[in-house]
Symmetry: C2
Amino acid sequence: MNEGHEDEGLRERLVRAGVELVALEGAQGLSLREIARRAGVSHGAPRRWFPTHLALLSAVAREGFTALAAELEAAGAPGDDPRARLLALGRAYLDFARERPGMYELMFRHDLLESERPGLRRTSLPLFDELVSLLAVARPGHPSPRVAAGAFWANLHGIAQLRSRGALQLATGTEEAEPLLRAALDAHVPGGSPE
Amino acid sequence: MNEGHEDEGLRERLVRAGVELVALEGAQGLSLREIARRAGVSHGAPRRWFPTHLALLSAVAREGFTALAAELEAAGAPGDDPRARLLALGRAYLDFARERPGMYELMFRHDLLESERPGLRRTSLPLFDELVSLLAVARPGHPSPRVAAGAFWANLHGIAQLRSRGALQLATGTEEAEPLLRAALDAHVPGGSPE
DNA sequence: GGCTGAAGTAGACAGTGTCTACGCTCGCTG
DNA sequence: CAGCGAGCGTAGACACTGTCTACTTCAGCC
């Protein structure tokens, strides 16, 4: 009960070290050997639990996905108005990407998802279904709620991505994502009055 | 005039080797030494023209940005209806991302743009201004065309990103981006009839 | 003709991911 | 209780990477 992580196995310690490191150094600093050092073991030790470096990174990214899912669930819960819930969801998504940029970048590295597909599917599909049902209520006329939800999600993702690249500043003159979020919400879920 | 690249300097040859390599091996295969090998020089030679590996990658990425700009300009030119032009623009953007995934990924690596910012600004700002004016015409009621254009661009970017990560398949059940593009266009530029 | 500076070579260095051989240390079994 | 075997971590090698620093080569110029 010293640090609260006494009875962890090495596997958990490695993943936790990765989560800490990606917050400190960004997605580029997540070398296998650095994670091992931070976990206090030799560079060969991770191989017992993760067959490859990428597998360890995927485990770290999975931690990020569950954290994001938790925040989205928390944000989407209160209130009845689907538009307000979608706004809260979008804010939570963008907040996560801003507050944990290294983790966010790691989560969407293209070469991760190949191996992480099944676990990712399990984590994010319920969330996406929630998004689908929200949009189905908010836009009763739309032919395909799944497509509408995908387009809205893509919009959020694009805003987060462009901001992390500093492209928002270049395009709209400000780093603030909120105006773009409002625009995206107005576009995909029309007919709302400002709260 | 043997290969058509006879009188190139090493700098151009290195950039061209990088463009070819990123198409063949993806963004991960773009090591400094591999580029040098493909250009037929030793691994120390690039240092004369590029102070660092990242600088060389940025030059390769800049090539990608000018190519993308050219395709967007070509796609946006014909026709008068701003909605149709926006659709063509979106298709061109998504086509580029699909046909040159390695280059597209390289272009939006976060650590590139820091050094590439000025050149990127010069290349992409006119294009974005074009997008702004298109949206200003298509959505006369919108309070800020720049924000509207940014949101639309973010939507395109998000669709491309999610598709390259295989997340479209996961969300909407198909890899096709066209339905999402139509949804994004309908959302951001309402009131259009199918062409 | 000798010099200078640019351009490319070659090697060293630290760091990386992966692989293999080697210990240590438990818990089980005879 | 002794011994053993499997699980777990260490240590070192290997090929590869980016960067840095001599060294060579060679065209151009006073």
